[in-house]
Amino acid sequence: MKPRSFEYIRATSLDDVFVVLDKHDDDAKILAGGQSLVPAMNMRFAAPEILIDIADVDALKGIALNGDVLTIGAMNRHVDVLNSADVATHAPLISAAMPNIAHATIRNRGTFGGSLCNADPASELPACAIAANARFNIQSSAGARRVAAAEFFEGTYATCMEANEVLVSVDVPIAKPTTHVYFDELARRKGDYAMAGLAAQADIKGGKFTSANFVYFAVSEMAAYSKALSQMLVGSKIAKVDVDAVCAALGDDIIPFEDLTTSGAAKAHMMNVLTRRALAAFQEASA
């Protein structure tokens, strides 16, 4: 399983990347960590004519606190995000998710931005970005734009990015003392794709939810935010939450699909399990 032939360009600046993308459009693909693109090319699911290696583009690097957001550059390797004290402090949901991404060796090369742009429905970061109200900084030769996480993802392996655009960084609103997070995924073996996962971030003030973002992944075509849970929980006291009612509302709100290994019914059950664990964790943390 060898990939088809292609031309390889090593960019040293964002402008380099824009020049190639503008000229070649769909025929050119960005190579970041390669941990999703190269397997697809090895299996010939993807056969771009040109690969633009962005590993040397400094504009895509760095993790920096910018006032009330943490800006994470797209080219950060997963291992660096995992080990970042700033991410642990200011973006705890992402920090909690990182050890669940693939395996250690994959995390040495795979990138934060690459995973987001790949938009695998079973992946962790899209769900975390939505739950944390992250904003995506996208650039092209035509300029820059910002997109909320909830609008960035459009479907399986589909995002709102145009062929000539580059994800430069993601701004994550920093955690406050009232912020609580819960992350878990259920998989047959460590490192496998999740059968069901939950990235949850809530603000709990004086024992009451002031926000409740429950985002489920690996259960539908893309990460699924539960509007019903948010409506039900916001304004209510955490000590008085009727967990059964919450799970019933979830069951009506998000109906999981069946994939190669797991039935919809099994996924629905797993979503309930994860939701109960999240609510228990939030109860304990805010007590």
């Binding site: 060898k2 292609f6 390669g34 291992v79 040495n108």
Partner: protein, 165 residues
């Protein structure tokens, strides 16, 4: 920026301490590049990143040789199982793999040993659960894994100055 045609591009990669210059197609994986130079300790298994048989060291950390293009390593440093063995830093792990019968066909073994070594450098006292977690990206079809975990655990204890018999 630099561009290379599909036919061949010159790369210089420091492999096991020695600068190697060659003409490679961009699509050539690092694993294939290494094997074609005669360094066949790096094995090609699944070619999509899940089995770990192709594990090598790239710029000091483990990487999938099947998911890394040789051209990406231009100007970089690669260490294979051969180089790491010659450098001597795997000897205790390798001796314990033999001692504990942690290999049969040996296909997964170079990847296992490099990955285990990286774990022990990051976490000198892993639990068996932590060993299994870290090694979960390396598949073995022969041994059933138990003996591999035993060897890594024993090595960890020895490196900390104790021994487990």
């Amino acid at each position: 920026m630099s561009a290379s045609t599909p036919v061949g591009t010159p790369v210089t990669i420091t492999v096991n301490g020695e600068a190697m210059t060659a003409l490679v197609e961009p699509r050539t994986s690092l694993a294939d590049f290494l094997r074609e130079t005669g360094l066949t300790g790096t094995h090609v298994g699944c070619e999509h990143g899940v089995c770990g048989a192709c594990t090598v060291m790239v710029d000091g950390v483990t990487a999938r040789g099947c998911l890394t293009l040789a051209v990406q390593c231009d100007g970089g440093e690669v260490e294979t199982i051969e180089g790491a063995t010659e450098a001597g830093r795997l000897k205790d792990l390798q001796d314990n793999f033999v001692e504990k019968n942690s290999l049969q066909c040996g296909f997964c073994t170079p990847g296992m040993v490099l990955t285990a070594d990286e774990l022990l450098r990051q976490n000198p006292s892993p639990t068996r659960e932590e060993i299994r977690e870290h090694m979960s990206g390396n598949y073995c079809r022969c041994t059933g894994y138990q003996a591999i975990v035993d060897a890594v655990e024993l090595t960890a204890k020895q490196r900390r100055g104790g021994s487990l018999r």
